[in-house]
């Protein structure tokens, strides 16, 4: 988290402001606990979901959605959990809870468009999952990539809430100066960036430790030691920006890290398929977009 002696006054303030961060909703820490326990079963998750009326409805909706494509109607939450699997359910709970905090409960119209932000997060999540499935398929890794996509820009929400005027300046600056990436402008004005803040939030929320690095280095994947997931997240972030699902025009200037592309062994045509699939999946992702 950087050297504290060197830390600027602003960052110290920020760290203090961490107390102001929305605490992790109870339901997310509960679902994390269940997922962490290898001996948990569908009954445990069902119990948790059934306590929340809207989650119950969403779980059934997802299990029966065209997006998921299960060939049979699913009527009970238990069945839905069995079919969807533990990690998908975790992501559903995470997505729907964060949507409520980030989008629904956010105050009136602001310069930082929360809906566009959310759309970008969902697109990055879906894209990250597609990238894993194209390079090193595995249900666990695919769902983890999805979670990372949803969370990767969480630092921006914090900046918008707690450092509104500076963040507003960042956005203005970034619209003028399209060649400088937004995170560099953030560093200039706030002495930190949304990636670093994001990783601090993950830490504070006690989310899995392996989420920290990919989020911290999603703009500079070369610096990460956990290269694979960081590269996936980086590429997914850029693709979802390029694919017109962007919420911040200035970030279009960001370029794909060539090394990241190389390490993922992604060919031009793989990338094209991923973009096509992303477009298709986004058109079917209402459940995540308007939860």
């Amino acid at each position: 988290m950087g050297d504290l002696k060197e830390t600027s006054k602003e960052l110290k303030d920020l760290i203090q402001k961490m107390d102001d961060l929305p605490i992790l909703p109870n339901i997310i820490s509960k679902v994390m606990k269940i997922i962490d326990n290898p001996y948990s079963n569908a009954d445990h998750l069902t119990e948790l979901i059934s306590m929340d009326q809207s989650l119950t409805v969403k779980t059934l909706k997802l299990a029966n959605s065209a997006y998921y494509g299960f060939p049979r109607e699913i009527v009970t939450v238990t069945e839905a959990v069995v079919v969807l699997g533990f990690l998908t359910v975790r992501n559903l709970i995470l997505t729907s809870t964060l949507y409520n905090i980030f989008v629904n409960e956010s105050q009136e119209e602001r310069e930082f468009d929360r809906r566009k932000f959310w759309k970008h997060s969902v697109a990055t999540a879906i894209c990250a999952r597609l990238l894993v499935s194209a390079t090193a398929p595995g249900q666990k890794e695919e769902e983890e990539a999805f979670t990372l996509g949803i969370l990767h820009d969480v630092g921006k929400v914090f900046m918008d809430t707690n450092y509104h005027s500076q963040f507003f300046e960042v956005m203005r600056e970034s619209k003028k100066n399209k060649n400088e990436p937004a995170y560099a402008i953030e560093r200039r004005i706030l002495n930190t960036d949304h990636a670093e803040i994001g990783s601090m939030i993950i830490d504070k929320w006690n989310l899995p430790e392996n989420f920290v690095e990919p989020i911290k280095f999603h703009h500079t994947p070369g610096l990460a030691s956990d290269k694979y997931m960081t590269n996936v997240l980086h590429v997914a972030d850029i693709i979802s920006k390029f694919s017109a699902i962007t919420y911040d025009a200035s970030e279009i200037n960001a370029r794909l890290d060539r090394e990241a592309m190389g390490t993922l062994k992604l060919q031009e045509e793989n990338l094209r398929t991923v973009v096509q699939n992303l477009e298709y999946e986004m058109s079917n992702a209402d459940l995540f977009l308007n939860s």
Partner: protein
């Protein structure tokens, strides 16, 4: 007194609570311990499988091992491992445990094609929910106590097969650990199975290559042998003609010799041509490019033209042609059919005694015609009957008399017959001659 009692009571209370604490602590330890033991048990299973897979080189044993370890990891009731063939088309069971039960539950759980398609799309294990039908069924409680899992098997992007598993506990009580163990076990096994299959295929390829190599040298030997006789005769004949031309000594005797030499050249050239044609046809047949030029042919006339044109009969035999009907027609390749007749006749001539009889007969039924050629030769031993149509067959030298040009003719006849959808065979007893038969479909609607 009061104080003491109070203190004692206090101490007893605190002892009791600390005891309770300790008991609670022990209970937790016990729980952790049993959890660890369970985990260790499962991991031992995985380890055992992985270890064994490094040493076991037989697919059958891997399947057995997998089922064995599945049984110790989950509450396995029945299962079946299905694998695709190399082309990814046919899928067949390579190992089954209680398949009847599996089929029964497949129906109960309504596991259909769509379900498998979904599983292959998702590329991960799926537990099939019991479905909406039969919810009010009184037998529901019974089948609810089991669950049906499908595990697709992939190596990289390649679909290798799938495993159906009937688990002896309801779907909602299957733990994450059990699911991930199933996934790990099957992923690892799939890699091993795929490697072993590739290894076996490679072995097969090496064997095939070796066979081709042997066949090649066979071709070399046989061909050079076949070619040597006619070439020697040709060379010798032309040498003599050359010498005679130089010496310019052409008297009546020389004229007789000249005629014989020319006859030799003709005969041997024809034999050479036959060998070349046969090799060519065989190659075309083997790589699937032999095409027939079919038309409606009068079979009796076709046979007669062969008999008439028969040029290289070198000895005197009595040939008798009989037929049940002079108007038998068939939709065949005229030239190719003639080759069959010529080859069989030439074979009969070769093995017949001087002045022996050769009978050729033509008959037909509604759908096919049959030609038979009976000779008065030494006959063919039973164990040779199948082999004489082989590519490089040579009968025992003791039984062959004049062997010039023999070896390919019958193979070519077989190729042509098969290409026409027909069969060729021989009936014989040693010492009593041999009868060759071939039966060809007339092809309904075109003739006969």
């Amino acid at each position: 007194m009061d104080n003491k009692e109070e203190e004692l009571l206090k101490r007893i209370n605190s002892m009791e609570s600390s005891l309770k604490e300790k008991m609670e602590y022990c209970r937790m330890l016990e729980e952790i311990n049993s959890g660890l033991r369970k985990y260790l048990n499962e991991m031992t299973g995985v380890y055992r499988l992985l270890e064994a897979m490094n040493t076991v080189k037989s697919l059958e044993k891997i399947y057995d091992l997998l089922v064995d370890i599945l049984g110790s990891t989950i509450e396995l009731d029945a299962c079946a491992i299905f694998l695709y063939d190399e082309n990814g088309r046919d899928c067949r069971a390579v190992k089954e445990v209680d398949p009847e039960k599996l089929v029964k539950y497949k129906q109960i759980f309504n596991v259909d094609r769509a379900m498998y398609e979904w599983v292959f799309k998702k590329k991960h294990i799926a537990i099939v929910p019991k479905g909406t039908e039969g919810r009010d069924d009184p037998g529901l409680a019974f089948f609810q106590s089991k669950s049906f899992a499908i595990v697709p098997l992939f190596v990289n992007e390649k679909k290798v097969g799938y495993v159906d598993i009937l688990i002896n506990k309801p779907a909602n009580t299957i733990t994450q650990q059990e699911l991930s163990l199933l996934t790990i076990l099957l992923n690892q096994t799939t890699v091993v199975i795929e490697n072993l299959r590739m290894y076996e295929q490679e072995k097969e390829t090496v064997n095939k290559l070796r066979q081709i190599d042997e066949m090649k040298s066979d071709i070399m030997i046989t061909t050079s042998h076949e070619l040597r006789t006619p070439l020697t005769i040709l060379k010798g004949s032309s040498k003599i003609i050359q010498i005679k031309m130089k010496e310019d000594m052409w008297n009546d005797d020389d004229k007789k010799l000249y005629a014989e030499l020319i006859h030799n050249v003709n005969t041997q050239a024809e034999i050479l041509e036959e060998i070349t044609n046969t090799l060519l046809a065989a190659t075309k047949f083997e790589n699937g490019t032999l095409t027939l030029n079919k038309k409606v042919v009068n079979i009796k006339q076709m046979i007669e033209s062969v008999i008439k044109k028969y040029t290289y009969k070198t000895k005197n035999v009595n040939l008798k042609f009989t037929y049940t009907d002079p108007n038998i027609t068939a939709y065949v390749d005229d030239e190719e059919m003639k080759k069959v007749v010529r080859n069989i006749l030439s074979n009969a001539f070769k093995y017949s005694e001087e002045n022996g009889d050769v009978y050729i007969d033509l008959s037909a039924d509604a759908k096919t015609f049959v030609v038979s050629v009976k000779d008065s030769g030494p006959g063919i031993p039973a164990e040779e009957k199948e082999k004489i149509f082989d590519k490089f067959y040579r009968m025992d030298r003791a039984l062959t008399r004049r062997t010039g040009g023999m070896g390919f003719g019958l193979y070519l006849s077989k190729i042509i017959t098969v290409q026409h959808g027909g069969t060729i065979w021989v009936e014989s007893q040693v010492g009593r001659g041999a009868t060759f038969y071939f039966r060809i479909p007339k092809e309904e609607g075109f003739g006969g």
